[in-house]
């Protein structure tokens, strides 16, 4: 059924563009719908009719504006950031298994955040969030460049090298983060462990604003490169022959994707597998054209993480499961399935 759907969507021509617009619009509507639903659900239920008609009690309003809205918006933005960075990385590495978490980019970002917390100390407010984001960005982009380098050690690009290098870097960053927690005092330890579980708990407006100002420009920048990303799938050499400046393209993608990952890690810790699952779902349903894949991954990633986060905070109410645990439980088997499918040549 899925392949029939895909065939329907991959026919060429000018109507492709309007088709893409329609799909993007559909995904956008889905996201808005989920945002509304998710903000009514929680420890304090807010009646849906009251929300739509605007007849909310003062208490409900306070809950909505101070707790729910920041929470659902942050989930959506982090989800969008993870979805887009996954799609962009997979385009850059030309392989559907290149997930920022798996290949250690998230780990690099997390290490830098932990280092900032320990050596600089927790800085509150906008300044603190921005500096954490940029620390995470620095860590993410450095690991990404290392992986790019290592995965072509043998001259040509190798998936095996990419994944193995990812394992090594993950181990390294994990150990270093662990050592940093060992060094840190009680207050720092609390800050690190609270953050490293991958949770969107305690979301305020500040991280929402910070995240938006970083993620949205990056998504736009990556979207504008989507046609060139398509050509890059032929390989760097062939893309160069066709006239694409691959060095500049790679730089843009690495910077934007690392900014997205860095921001996501800074505000919510390590949330895995969204970047792997989401682009794959879009490809499965609508084909691999980056003109749709990039905005589609942003919207679907936002919807999916919002869904996961809503589940995480309601499933075991009144306590919350860290959402990172939930996404990994679903994402791990998904990755294995993908691996089996790819080794059978199914992708």
């Amino acid at each position: 059924m899925i392949s029939a759907l895909r065939r329907h969507f991959t026919s060429e021509g000018l109507n492709t563009k309007s088709q893409y617009t329609n799909i993007t619009l559909g995904l956008g509507i889905l996201l808005v719908f989920l945002l509304v639903i998710a903000s009514t659900i929680g420890a304090i239920q807010i009646p849906f009719q009251d929300l739509v008609t605007g007849q909310l009690s003062e208490f409900d309003q306070a809950v909505l504006f101070n707790i729910r809205f920041p929470r659902v918006l942050l989930a959506a933005i982090v989800g969008a950031a993870l979805g887009v960075s996954g799609a962009a990385m997979q385009g850059l590495f030309r392989n559907p298994l290149a997930d920022p978490t798996l290949i250690g980019i998230t780990g690099g970002a997390a290490l830098c955040v932990a280092a900032t917390i320990v050596f600089v100390g927790p800085i509150a407010g906008y300044l603190g969030l921005y500096s954490l984001s940029f620390a995470a960005f620095a860590g993410g982009s450095v690991t990404c460049l290392i992986i790019l380098r290592l995965s072509r050690l043998s001259g040509t690009f190798s998936v095996t090298h990419m994944l193995l290098a990812g394992i090594a870097l993950n181990a390294l960053t994990f150990a270093s983060s662990g050592y940093l927690s060992f060094l840190s005092d009680d207050q720092q330890l609390r800050a690190i462990s609270f953050w490293s579980m991958g949770s969107l708990g305690g979301a305020l407006w500040e991280p929402v604003i910070v995240a938006m100002t970083i993620v949205i420009p990056c998504i736009i920048a990556i979207s504008r490169k989507s046609k060139e990303l398509n050509v890059l799938l032929l390989g760097e050499e062939n893309a160069t022959y066709i006239g694409i400046d691959t060095q500049r393209l790679k730089r843009t993608i690495v910077v934007c994707a690392a900014l997205c990952v860095g921001m996501a890690v800074a505000v919510s810790g390590v949330i895995g597998f969204i970047g792997l699952v989401v682009p794959h779902l879009i490809r499965l349903m609508f084909g691999a054209d980056h003109r749709l894949l990039i905005p589609g991954s942003a919207l679907l990633g936002a919807s999916l993480l919002l869904l996961a986060d809503t589940l995480a905070r309601t499933i075991a109410a009144p306590t919350e499961i860290p959402v990172g645990i939930l996404t990994s439980i679903v994402g791990g088997p998904f990755f294995l399935w993908l691996l089996i499918r790819q080794s059978k040549g199914g992708i």
């Binding site: 559907p96 046609k227 050509v231 050499e237 022959y241 992708i347």
Partner: protein, 246 residues
């Protein structure tokens, strides 16, 4: 059309190409021959402007390659590389249209798709246009990439075409088809074609002149009938002359 003077290329202090000079005139079909690892592909990469030679000059149409930017180069020459792996579900038509990636719309306008279709028809794979690239056989994929390369220079004259073992997975019929297309665009549109080949019979049949490489050096070069001789083959490929039948 293209000249190279004293071309050398080394990487990690290993000399891959040594002091190669050649001149290919417009409309010519120029073959590069030699055993495995002789540096044929590297030479092609240098000539097409992907790799910068360590020393020596390359002039394309009288202009040094260093003075041409990527877009200008993309309108002057196209390259068919040996193996292209596409890991994502793209259709044949989408791949062929990527050849138009040097244009303003990176190969997404309706004109680009029209050209891609005509190119696919030329290499006899138009009937596969909606198929996933990965579901095609090796030979079919090679023909799609040939169509992509042709689409890149579709509206150009006097351009250069670099082909790296373009017939490696083609059946006999399509080997002839490919070279018929090459001959045709060389005659009608003034294309110059530089091709790396392993099949010496085919080289004798289609090339005007050839360069034989051995260990990165020029072994011999010149008119195809004069260069490809039993003695030369025997010496170049290190096989006994009794085994060479021309």
């Amino acid at each position: 059309m293209i000249t190279a003077q004293n071309l050398s290329y080394e990487v990690n202090q290993k000399q891959i190409l040594r002091d190669i000079s050649l001149e290919v005139t417009q409309g010519e079909m120029f073959g590069i021959l030699g055993p495995n690892g002789a540096g044929k592909s590297t030479l092609l990469k240098c000539l097409s402007g992907y790799q910068k030679p360590s020393s020596g000059d390359i002039l394309m149409d009288g202009v040094s390659l260093e003075n041409l930017n990527l877009k200008e180069l993309a309108c002057k020459r196209a390259v068919l590389t040996q193996q292209v792996v596409v890991n994502f579900p793209f259709t044949v038509l989408q791949i062929a249209a990527m050849g138009r990636g040097h244009g303003a719309d990176f190969g997404n306008s309706s004109v680009d798709f029209d050209i891609a279709k005509q190119a696919l028809e030329l290499t006899e794979v138009l009937h596969l246009q909606d198929r996933q690239m990965s579901s095609l056989s090796g030979g079919e994929q090679q023909r799609v990439h040939m169509a992509r390369v042709l689409a890149q220079l579709w509206d150009k004259n006097d351009a250069l075409l670099f082909l790296d073992e373009p017939t490696s997975s083609l059946d006999l019929k399509h080997q002839f088809l490919l070279f018929d297309i090459c001959k045709d665009i060389a005659a009608r549109r003034g294309f110059t074609i530089i091709v790396v080949l392993h099949d010496l019979h085919m080289a004798r049949r289609v090339c005007d002149s050839v360069l034989m490489l051995r260990e990165g050096r020029t072994f011999s070069k010149g008119n195809v009938q004069e260069v490809i001789t039993a003695n030369a083959i025997s010496e170049l490929y290190e096989i006994s002359i009794s085994r060479v039948h021309i």
